[in-house]
Amino acid sequence: MKEELFVSGRMNNMIDPTLHIWHWQIPLYLFLGGMAAGILCLAAVYYIRGEGKRYYTAVRITPFLTPFLLVIGLLALFIDLRHKLFFWQLYTNIKLQSPMSWGAWTLMVITPVSFIWCALHIRDIFPKWDWKYKWLRELEKFFNKYKLALAWIMLIYGLILGIYTGILLSAFNARPLWNTSILGPLFLASGLSAGAAATLLLSKNPDERKHFAQIDLVIIGIEMFLIIHMFMGYLAGTQVQIEAADMFLGGPYTMSFWIFVVIIGMLVPAVLEILELRKYHIPALIPPVLVIFGSLMLRFIIVYAGQVSRWLY
């Protein structure tokens, strides 16, 4: 029999008996960031491809969500900080090796970009909009001129942000569950899927809806592939990774992960979308809401489970 114990009570708050330093704020922040990234990437791609008219909602309307998503996300991150007064320290340092620093700076870029993008399309929502001040109008003119460049910045930083939401976790060698390079692409895919779902929610145009349902299906396919790959990677890995995987394969997170993330968040909406494409009548709200819900749950479960997974020694 092997017995391992802490002789003296280890009782570090939020560390013992298992790490739970990150609560709802971080997964929410990752989800909102990921979804915003997805929306902005899709908007940028279709704009760059010159399909801004065809996919009107995706390029011009859905991005209006992103300033809110990003600001709420940043707020969640801020709430999570325990030493809030020193928040500004994030922006007096550039730490190339720190994903957290990357994230902070990426947000620093993409948040204003998203505001500008919305500003350029504000008349799509409020047709009578007037910028009141001359310099604002000048500014609008300026950005309109460089809109393509702006779209490229949006695309690149959107991709970085989307991948970052996964890399933030996968950079932690200390948590075997997180320590897989699949997490970056997976979270990016999940963000894109949530972004596509957002357009599905907002768009009234059947053509656009159909297109985004197809996009979503492809992304869900990619996600499934990545998830399977991720587990194969764990199981072929070291003891600690096998144990990390076991949390989802019979362990405490099995039910929540497979039911909420995979079945409700991916398979059910995928099936519904296929049915919809086959002209079955499906309430338009349901598939995208499920996708967004699944995307959110993915962040929550990975963030929570990852904190439980640890090295053995």
């Binding site: 029999m1 092997k2 017995e3 391992e4 114990l5 802490f6 002789v7 003296s8 280890r10 009782m11 570090n12 708050n13 939020m14 560390i15 013992d16 790490l19 330093i21 990150w22 991150l77 999570d80 900080l81 325990r82 030493h83 809030k84 007064l85 020193f86 928040f87 320290q89 994030l90 007096t92 340092n93 730490k95 090796q97 720190s98 994903p99 957290m100 620093s101 994230g103 902070a104 933030l168 950079a171 932690f172 060698n173 200390a174 948590r175 070291t238 904190q307 640890r310 090295w311 020694y313």
Partner: protein
């Protein structure tokens, strides 16, 4: 200068004096600890073995906590000691999540805290509080670059290991076995 510590698992009795001494010396608030003691027993009665280890931050050479810190609050100080500047720490918890040894904790005042190798003492030529208090004298501290330091001498004489070498952190806390 490369500071390091070695703990003799064959002499340590797990009394946790190192934990109390650290707590009082460094004013670690009640309910938290910078060091702790682990006991691993293996075997079947009466063929048994126990390894006892007094653990703390490993002051890793390849420290993930320093790497992931977005503000530079976690940094390497003179002699490779890994420290946190509390006026630069935003309390994001990234370093806590990044440490494979769970050696850090969020101080109730907001910043993240951990073992400092008692930098304030070693700067004065004293030994860390835990090393100095240990009734079994099973802890050795010193500069690896000084072949005559307590820690260099004992590492030359004895077999040792580090914790989770697979994690690639290159710890500076050695366990004599």
């Amino acid at each position: 200068m490369r500071y390091a510590m070695a703990v003799d698992t064959r002499k340590c009795v797990g009394c946790s004096d190192c934990v109390v001494a650290c707590q009082t010396e460094n004013n670690v608030p009640l309910g938290f600890c910078r060091d702790w003691v682990v006991e691993v027993m293996d075997g079947t009665y009466p063929q048994l073995e126990i390894e006892i280890r007094s653990e703390r931050c490993n002051h890793c050479v390849n420290a993930p906590c320093v790497r992931c810190c977005p503000t530079g609050a976690s940094h390497f100080a003179e002699g490779g000691i890994v420290l946190v500047k509390k006026t630069e720490c935003i309390g994001c918890g990234a370093c806590i999540a990044s440490c494979p040894y769970d050696a850090r904790y969020p101080h109730p005042d907001g910043y993240v805290d951990k073992c400092t190798f008692c930098e304030h003492r070693i700067l004065k030529g004293m030994k860390p509080a835990c090393v100095e208090v240990c009734p079994t004298k099973c802890m050795y501290f010193g500069d690896l670059d000084d072949p005559n330091s307590d820690v260099s001498v004992v590492l030359k004489k004895r077999k040792f290991k580090t914790l989770i070498p697979e994690a690639g952190t290159d710890p500076r806390l050695y366990f004599l076995i």
